[in-house]
């Protein structure tokens, strides 16, 4: 994946570039807003990671300008401002996701990889299929190898989000944000309990589990 990182903190930038590189992504770096905007509008990237506060041009204005040019590259905004309204302004400016500093790299990586798929057909698909597990978004039915699985509405949304991002790591905060629409850090293991119930419904009795726990990061659904 080709990523553009617009971040003025050199230390944070070099750490991110190295870590993204180790995860198999090519990362270009711009240290100020003007350079970043020029690179973003001049080249094709899969994902842009934009710091909100930058010298010479602020992050939100870059995103707004790109959207104004019909450039729909997915954007992850990084910011130290974490209030609800800060997040709302960030997303309203055209950002696709918003991550508050300080963050864990696993969280950033998971979000970047999920974002890259935003533009793919999976977003609009009416059904998903992973290793014999079938989820139909229209009839809201789930079955595995032809056997119907009954899910609560919230469990359905959990599974839907996981299957939409099949093969990608999904973190607990991403699940809380996308399935429950809350943006705080869960103190206890609330998400884990929901996941173990979901696992009990879709994986119990099958030799090959589909729902995997990725240690130190989150969850993933794959064959």
């Amino acid at each position: 994946m080709k990523i553009l990182l617009i971040e003025d903190d050199r230390e944070a930038a070099s750490y991110l570039i190295q870590a993204l590189d180790e995860s198999g992504h090519v990362t270009h770096h711009a240290a100020d807003g003007e350079t970043g905007y020029a690179m973003a509008s001049g080249m094709d990237y899969d994902v842009l990671i934009v710091d909100r506060m930058l010298p010479r041009r602020d992050g939100l204005s870059i995103v707004e300008a790109l959207r104004g040019e019909d450039n729909n590259t997915p954007v992850l905004i990084l910011s130290a401002l974490g209030e609800v309204d800060d997040r709302v302004t960030g997303l309203r400016a055209g950002g696709d996701d918003y991550l508050v500093k300080p963050y864990a790299f696993t969280e950033l990586l998971a979000r970047v990889e999920v974002l890259a798929r935003r533009s793919s057909p999976a977003e609009a698909a009416t059904s998903f299929e992973v290793g014999g597990l079938l989820l139909d978004r229209l009839s809201r039915k789930v079955e595995r190898n032809g056997e119907t699985i009954l899910l609560q509405p919230r469990e359905f949304r959990l599974l839907e989000y996981l299957m939409k991002n099949a093969g990608k790591v999904v973190t607990r905060t991403m699940l809380l944000e996308n399935v429950w629409d809350y943006h705080f850090d869960p103190q206890t293991n609330v998400i884990d309990v929901h996941m173990s119930r979901l696992r009990g419904k879709i994986d119990k009795g099958y030799a090959n589990p589909l729902l995997h726990t990725i240690r130190g990061a989150g969850y993933m659904i794959r064959e």
Binding site: V84, D85, Y182, Q187, T188, V190, V193, R197
Partner: protein
């Protein structure tokens, strides 16, 4: 300045009044003269000139402002109470005004000839005589002078009085303002507990002083709060930071074993994550206490929020051996911040979960309640756990306060302070009640 304007207006008013009264008197005199002339003309016509001469004789002998003069066909004086009349007055009929020598009264001893001003009407009688009838205007002038005099004294009196009153009032006002200024100076110099003195007069200044004092109370409380936060931050962030540093240093020294270092690094990350959480909680409380910008407040369906949170925490509670129940009235709405209200509810539930002690034959139960009650909205989380001793209930809401018995439990000690801050942000209050057994945490918010 105001006195100048006052004087100017007084003078203008005085001028206007004397001019008006002058004109009025003049009209009156002219009317009197005309009436007398008409009467004399009638006498001349009906009874002949001897009757006129007789009438003039009689009128002239009466004291008063009347001026009379009568001549024959050739202009010789034949009657009246003045000796001479200017030629043009005699020649032209109509109204005239002239200066004349007043005839001296017999008992007046001095030699000066008093001069008088007169308004007269000249008329040629049918019998051929010329009659001049008029009024001395000294009387009129005298009246005007009295009016002007009285008025001047009045103005002077008012001036002196208002000057004294003005000086007294401004002295009092300046004194009061001085006391406020000196209080402000004392506060700026660092003595935050100074207050503006309030008198018993209960006037506008006292109202101002009371408001200022209330503002100062609020500021002092905020400053106190800030100091407490800084102290607590210093304590609760510095301690884990020191621990973090110590751990890293000792791992660095112990370079022989790779796994020890790896473990040390992992603890470092866990510790720093805890620190970040504490820090985030502190920021959130600070933001909530400062009052969120109005843009962040919107209509929130509390019943839905409570339902969502109950659904989110239901499985965890079940796992811990508790029942999470809801007693939620549908459609309770409030103008507020959904995220913060949700977070507050989550904190209350996590608290109830954290302090629950499983006992045989005792089923743990947490109940989330949302209801509207007479203009208020009550959000309650009750449990039947060990409860909080009454003496500690106020204290646990403060920042970082954790009862000694729970020091070993994980958590930042900020959960309930955030709930209290969120309640205050929504202009409400937060309290802990006895649920016999257990605790009932109540967020009491105004509806709408």
């Amino acid at each position: 300045m105001f006195i100048l304007i006052f004087v100017l207006f007084s003078v203008l008013l005085l001028g206007f009044i004397s001019w008006q009264s002058n004109a009025q008197i003049q009209r009156q005199q002219a009317n009197d003269i005309s009436r007398e002339v008409r009467a004399l003309v009638r006498i001349d016509r009906n009874q002949g000139f001897p009757a006129v001469i007789y009438a003039i004789e009689r009128l002239s002998s009466q004291p008063g402002p009347g001026v009379y003069y009568l001549t024959d066909l050739v202009g010789q004086r034949i009657g009246g109470n003045i000796n001479e009349v200017p030629v043009e007055v005699l020649r032209d009929a109509g109204f005239h005004s002239f200066t004349y020598a007043r005839p001296r009264a017999i008992d007046e001893g001095d030699d000066t000839v008093p001069l008088g001003n007169a308004i007269v009407q000249t008329v040629k009688l049918e019998s051929g005589l010329t009659l001049v009838v008029g009024r001395d205007v000294v009387e009129r002038r005298g009246f005007t002078a009295i009016v002007v005099d009285g008025f001047l004294w009045g103005v002077l009196g008012i001036l002196v009085f208002s000057l004294i009153a003005g000086v007294l009032t401004s002295m009092r006002v300046l004194n009061r303002i001085d006391s406020i200024t000196s209080t402000a100076n004392a506060i700026m110099a660092g003595s935050l507990s100074e207050r503006v003195p309030v008198t018993k007069r209960n006037d506008e200044f006292d109202a101002l002083a009371t408001s200022l004092n209330q503002m100062l109370d609020r500021i002092e409380a905020l400053m106190q709060g800030l100091k407490e936060v800084t102290d607590n931050v210093a304590h609760d962030l510095k301690t884990p930071l020191t621990r973090l540093r110590n751990k890293a240093e000792s791992a660095l020294r112990d370079s022989s074993n790779g796994t020890v270092q790896r473990e040390a690094l992992e603890t470092t990350i866990t510790e720093s994550e805890k620190l970040i959480k504490t820090f985030n909680a502190l920021l959130m409380i600070a933001r909530a206490e400062a009052g969120a910008p109005s843009g962040a407040l919107a209509e929130v369906d509390l019943s839905t929020v409570a339902g969502d949170v109950a659904e989110l925490y239901g499985p965890v509670a079940e796992e811990a051996g508790l029942v999470l129940d809801t007693k939620v009235t549908e459609g309770v709405k409030i103008h507020g911040n959904r995220e913060l209200l949700g977070q507050a509810l989550v904190n209350l539930i996590e608290n109830a979960l954290k302090y629950f002690e499983p006992q045989p034959g005792h089923d743990g139960k947490i109940t989330i309640g949302v209801r509207a009650e007479g203009g208020r909205v009550l959000i309650e989380v009750s449990d039947n756990g060990p409860g909080i001793p009454e003496a500690d209930r106020e204290r646990v809401v403060e920042r970082f306060v954790r009862l000694d018995s729970s020091r070993t439990e994980p958590g930042s000690g900020l959960g309930l302070s955030l709930v209290a801050a969120v309640a205050r942000l929504h202009r409400g209050s937060f309290r802990l009640e006895d649920n016999v057994p257990g605790v009932r945490a109540v967020m009491d918010l105004p509806a709408g």
